[in-house]
Symmetry: C2
Subunit: 422 residues, 2 copies
Amino acid sequence: LALVDAADGADAVRVLTSLAPRPPLSQAAARVPSSAIRDLLALTGSSDVLSLAGGLPALGHVHDPVLATAAARVVDDAEAVQYGTTEGWPPLRRWIARRLSNGSGGVAAAADDVRVTHGSQQAIDLVVRALVDPGDVVVVERPTYLGAVQALAPAAARVHAVPVDADGLDTHLLADALRAGLRPRLCYLAPTFQNPSGVVMSAERRAHLAELASHHGFVVVDDDPYRDLAFSPPPPPLRAWLDPELSVTLGTFSKVLAPGLRVGWVHGPPWLVAALTRLKQATDLHTSTVAQRIVAEVVTPPDWLDGRIGRLVALHRHRAAVLTGALRDRLDGRLHLADARGGMFLWGRLDDDLGLDADALLPGALARGVAFVPGAAFACDDAPSSHLRLCFATLDDDRLTEAAHRLAGAVADAARAGPGAR
Amino acid sequence: LALVDAADGADAVRVLTSLAPRPPLSQAAARVPSSAIRDLLALTGSSDVLSLAGGLPALGHVHDPVLATAAARVVDDAEAVQYGTTEGWPPLRRWIARRLSNGSGGVAAAADDVRVTHGSQQAIDLVVRALVDPGDVVVVERPTYLGAVQALAPAAARVHAVPVDADGLDTHLLADALRAGLRPRLCYLAPTFQNPSGVVMSAERRAHLAELASHHGFVVVDDDPYRDLAFSPPPPPLRAWLDPELSVTLGTFSKVLAPGLRVGWVHGPPWLVAALTRLKQATDLHTSTVAQRIVAEVVTPPDWLDGRIGRLVALHRHRAAVLTGALRDRLDGRLHLADARGGMFLWGRLDDDLGLDADALLPGALARGVAFVPGAAFACDDAPSSHLRLCFATLDDDRLTEAAHRLAGAVADAARAGPGAR
């Protein structure tokens, strides 16, 4: 390796400097796991695997040229393609506040307390950055949304996972932990058609959680992306019970309009949204004005969005029934399922007698041409799980039926091989 | 305050819990300052103040219906409005890699090493999060881009600011500091038509910085949003000199296409872009597929973008001359200016004999109906500054001339009042 004169030019420098050690990543970056779901999707994306793994709403089936017309009109406006405010486009914030105030489970909300984010994932990230110092305790559900696990990782939060049962996060277990000295800064949960479990937290538990939050002074984040995808009306958001100073609600247009627009929002107390605004300014200046205005254009006419949601929910409900039926037909006694009440997912549990982890089932399922997400992905400790998350929203009836058939084949293979073979 | 039974309902809980103390913000959030520019813009936005404070490219004057057509086509495609990959839309990443490889100052780049971000501000935030632990040293220019100061704040970086002269960041001062023991993890700079100073770093200094980076093993971020807005060709990006393992380049479509789309990109070594991808996944899943595809649609036809850039640069050059001429006519000897070489900003310096800080001048200027950004906003320590950042890109000729006239009036007022009056 010749030590040439570095000032001579780029090539010379490059030779000289290939000796430089690679700098280390920050501790925060080193803590962030990749998403098992996304890694899996990358594997299955280009093959003929039937994927129950993703979480794509059936938006192609409620396609509406109104969106394209709005997009053209917005982008043709020179002001709409310029920089915007960090807080979000005021007419959209007003619409969101009205939506929060009216409709199913509405509680009065002011546009001043709404911030538009680049999807609700960004809202999770911002709230965590605003409230969590390294070592702080954050309460989550077990299982919980994978994106929350990822957002919590760089913050070096100490995650305390509280099990979810048929009534949602078990607030009595949380109360025990609080009595024993747990001091959370934050409780993050998705109490309505939870991803992955589909569970709806009962009104009683909601009230109990609010009482605990007030008593111990921690912030509660109600991540509520699936509220509109209800087969029957869920309880009001946690906001209806929480002290407003401790209450954060997240929402998104991704499930009912277009995930590719990346428009979500956060509603919270002034002291917190002020901090979120400064952090968002530092993070990405503001959410795409183009995307915000497209959303505002299409949702403003009365009833358009609700009509679209009605058609989408009818389709999802049908598909949930198709997948549930097909799985029960083919996996009776081997895979336990509750009826879906909304959202996009079934949460199957492999029967204990199979002695089979969902992780161990996955390679065989992929080989048979069906993908799902193993339950361990939704825990914060990667503990083995007999659960499978199965999305009923994306595939059509024939493919859902065929996917259930393939999954049954994979389970049968594994059962035949027995625990020893794994 | 009656202590009612909390389980009775939401209202009762709210009465009981208004006693809860407000939880503290995280240390990271407490460290993030608001943007002086944005606070100022909020003040001037709805009045008849002529604003030289913002940084809006003159995109209204290169308006092209091609954008609206592309937007309609993209949004009409059910796949384009679905979720996308964190890395970014592959055809856009390939286009960016080709652009980096060819054209003025091109150095071969692979699409695999490009990630699409929600504006280049997000790329700064992600790089800082990926590399900087609390207390780590980050070298920046003095003055530097305000958005970088904001992105560095939550990371608790120790910022070491190296003065910029007419040839850019003074690498000899940096070399002295490194010899004296400075150990940066990162050096962030905008060496080409810098915001705010407009300075272009010389090729010699670029080579010297690369040599220092290699010797000491720190990553260099070349934030390069203004390269296309050149009145004459600048030197190649730092990438042409840097060890590829230590070289990060940021770019954006905000200055030449549409800031409201929020599409930027980062190019860097595989070890780093892998970490950026995981962090971005945790932060916002992916950049709007709609925005990415609109960009890709319009930039793909050969020469369309370069034609647009040519018209935009001609207009910017003209406006820079108008503002510079008007300021020199009215503020001869009181405001010192270099000729603009590209970008969007003039960096004026109030004559020492005035004994006047730009901060102190601002209220009088606003009272006379003209806004600018005081130089102190671009330092990391808010030290007083006699500099003003003046954007020449946004206003038309008459308004630029009138703004210069108003600014001269404000300076005359301040000079008359004398230091004692301030």
